[in-house]
Symmetry: C2
């Protein structure tokens, strides 16, 4: 494997942090209050639902948007105008779309990396964990919202030319 | 959202099917016996561990390699020459790398789609489910091996130019 083993630089974290705040504010009128970013070592369970999307270009990466069921339901209601009563297809689509928007907004701020997005997938299950390859040190950015906690994890590796 | 809503065509499934068989054979001396592919609607729990990787180019997609703990441990032993006793970093790296190789081999067979890979991530947790956006109909390809079942799920959407 090639590339750096250092944690994702702050220069690369801020675009994802800003993207999450802006997307939640714009799409769901939900204010995210950021906590202290930390190295995500994959040993912590994430929240019950995680949107996962890949990035590739001059860097390759993965973004994980992780949130609990109450936040997922509330955010879906805010975006679709109707309250889902369970974790149905609407919730999956909403979380997939939010993940897509956050990664898309961050990628636009990181234009020099010329990255494109993959298709989002959505993982559901209590106590699931998301781990990255050992040579990547993903950063987790925790947020608080009125509906509960939200977390954005970013793993990114610049490609050696 | 743009693009087709049809299930992933057989033309796009065979490269992933062949890739999985070849990668398991070459890397782990493990013969995969293919079952009948089916539409994955995201309601079935996957196996305990899932490697997820994104693809982007003229099509965008996601590949999920899902397998149970016994297969994950055996395949790690076969690839690293040492038996892990638990789901540790070696297992995560091995499943991430296998997912990367399967997607990489399939992408080479789908050269006209000019896709590149994202970083793999690895999901762990009993009863986790992987769902795709509602306008994607991912195909699941189930396999049997001497060590237990393995499944490859592929969701792919051609980009409208």
């Amino acid at each position: 494997m090639s590339g750096t083993c250092a944690p994702v630089s702050v220069d690369y974290i801020n675009p994802f942090l800003n993207a999450a705040v802006n997307v939640f504010r714009t799409m769901a009128a939900c204010e995210l209050k950021r906590g202290k970013p930390y190295l995500a070592d994959g040993t912590h369970p994430t929240h019950e639902i995680s949107g996962v999307i890949g990035l590739s270009g001059k860097a390759i990466g993965t973004v994980v948007l992780s949130l609990g069921e109450p936040v997922a339901l509330k955010v879906t209601e805010a975006m679709l105008g109707e309250a889902p009563t369970e974790m149905n297809g609407d919730v999956v689509d909403t979380i997939g779309e939010l993940t897509n928007m956050i990664a898309g907004s961050a990628k636009a701020q990181l234009e020099h990396l010329a990255m494109s997005l993959s298709l989002p997938s959505v993982i559901m299950g209590r106590n699931h964990r998301v781990a990255f390859p050992g040579d990547i040190q993903p950063i987790a950015i925790p947020f608080e919202s009125a509906w509960g906690p939200v977390c954005v994890e970013v793993g990114l590796r610049e490609q050696t030319p």
